[in-house]
């Protein structure tokens, strides 16, 4: 399992549009991607649950990637967060 931390800089937080893109990317990665923040976690490929975490700007999230090509998936995810969130 690979993990990394990221602090959200988008002013609205993980809002609908990037969350939708994130869910798509997570699904396509072939790995199981989990996002944790504020003591809760959600499968990143499930858009509504992901938004249900209510992650705001300034929140630090932990992203963990399991299965499949973990190293590549984790790199791709980190890149995604940096450019979208």
């Amino acid at each position: 399992m690979k993990t990394f931390n990221y602090t959200i800089t988008d002013p609205i937080g993980i809002h609908a549009r990037p969350a939708g893109l994130l869910a798509k990317a997570a699904k396509a990665s072939g790995s199981k991607v989990t996002i944790s923040a504020n003591g809760k976690s959600a499968d990143a490929s499930k858009l509504i649950l992901l938004m249900g975490l209510g992650i705001k700007c300034g929140t630090e999230v932990t992203v963990s990637v399991e299965g499949g090509d973990e190293a590549k998936a984790a790199d791709d995810m980190e890149q995604f967060f940096k450019s979208n969130l």
Binding site: I12, K24, I48
Partner: protein, 542 residues
Amino acid sequence: MEEYKGKAIAKGVVVGKIFFYSKETGQVRRRSIDDIEAEKQRYEEAKAEALRQLGEIYEKALKEVGEENAAIFEVHQMFLEGDEFNESVTSIIETEKVNAEYAVAKTGDNLADMFASMDDDYFKARAADMKDISERVVNVLTGSENTNTPTEPVILIAEDLAPSETVQMDKANLLSFVTRLGSSNSHTAILARNMDIPALIGIDIDKAWHGKQAVVDGSKGLLIIDPDPDILADYEIKLKKQAEEKELLKALKGKEDVTLDGKHIKLYANIGGVGDVADVLKNDAKGIGLFRSEFLYLESDDFPTEEQQFEAYKKVAQLMAGKKVIIRTLDIGADKQVDYFGLDKEDNPALGYRAIRICLDRPEIFKTQLRALLRASAFGNIAIMYPMIISEAEVIKIKEISASVKEELKSEKIPFNESIEEGIMIETPAAAVISDKLARLVDFFSIGTNDLTQYTLAVDRQNAKLEAIADTHHEAVLRLIELVCKNAHAAGIWAGICGELGSDTELTQRFMEMGVDELSVSASRILPVRQKIRASKTTPQT
């Protein structure tokens, strides 16, 4: 005649017949079913149809309200395609042995409740999206279509309008929107502004108004039902004038900002945030002459990071696609206070610790902003402008800090525009008087007439009692502007006006005579000012 006052979210005047719009939300019946697979199949088919509809709505919205506002329908599709929605619907069908309509409605309600219970306003508002989605699928399942839409041009009144409802309406039949709920940033408001039709919110609408004649006055926020003949006659005149103006302005789009004797003027817009750019482009401004960076600080609970600022500046620069974007550094203090700056209360804030004075005193705040601005300069045509200057020493200090930040970026191999233009605001009488000296140190001047007027006349612009003597055309202020232009030109730099006065078309001719090179005005004033520039000369007209 009855008059109601609401909040205008889009300007203009219109006279027409009222149409009362209501959603046909028939109760969803719970029915027991035997064939689970057949019910799941019904759901799958309805979902596919709903997705197809959403795709169509997205395309339509893209044309009407732009990509940013249309994105919500793409998100609706994603919600509907997501596992959670589908798993919930099929699980309800399977475990409760109920009809698809019920399972969908129940799923929509559950998810809406989840969002409604969240504490952040943005996430709370997603509850309405969940309902919008489930209602769409239910309507496909029941084969019901909302037939309650206007067939002739009307003033549409409604309790509230969902984005998908406004997008689906035939725009040719919409003269105006009036709703009880809604906000000035809602999808409906944006649509109204893009369509250039008046719209009001906050009016207690009444079903009994359906079919009555009414006036919507978007400049006063008024809805007048059954207007008296004399009132109606007044509005007919206003309507005619409005139509003429619209025609004229349409004709001015795409035209050059050039005087009768051939001087090209930079006609730019003032903005206060990234969201204002759409208006700037719509009104055909040739650049942004004042981008107030305060919103980044005012909307935040702590100092905005370099990254947050960089993203905002970069976005505007990219949206303006090579057109000039002049960003003013932090102008906090005086009438704009932010808690986390920890500023002391002052007896005389307008003359106090504000703007560049804070930046030079707390260079760490200033450097973060400069780094963000310079980094963003690699993505468009950005210029930087410093506010509240009174001396050469300040400008020299600013240039030292700016040079050190540039060195830093170079050593980190971060790209930026090395020949970025840096200018100052002339908004103190001191700066105006020594503008000959200041002009040698900077690339441009932009005159902030609001502060310049208040400081020159010693008249507090926030004090309503002084309004009578706050003469914006005071000769002293005009002479200072003329002096600033003359000194700018002697040093080979340009001078513009970014204060309110710049959009005062009574003065456009005079400004041209003074040699003003740039006017930066609010987006809605671009075309009226363009019209005036095109009728002005740089020499007195008799």
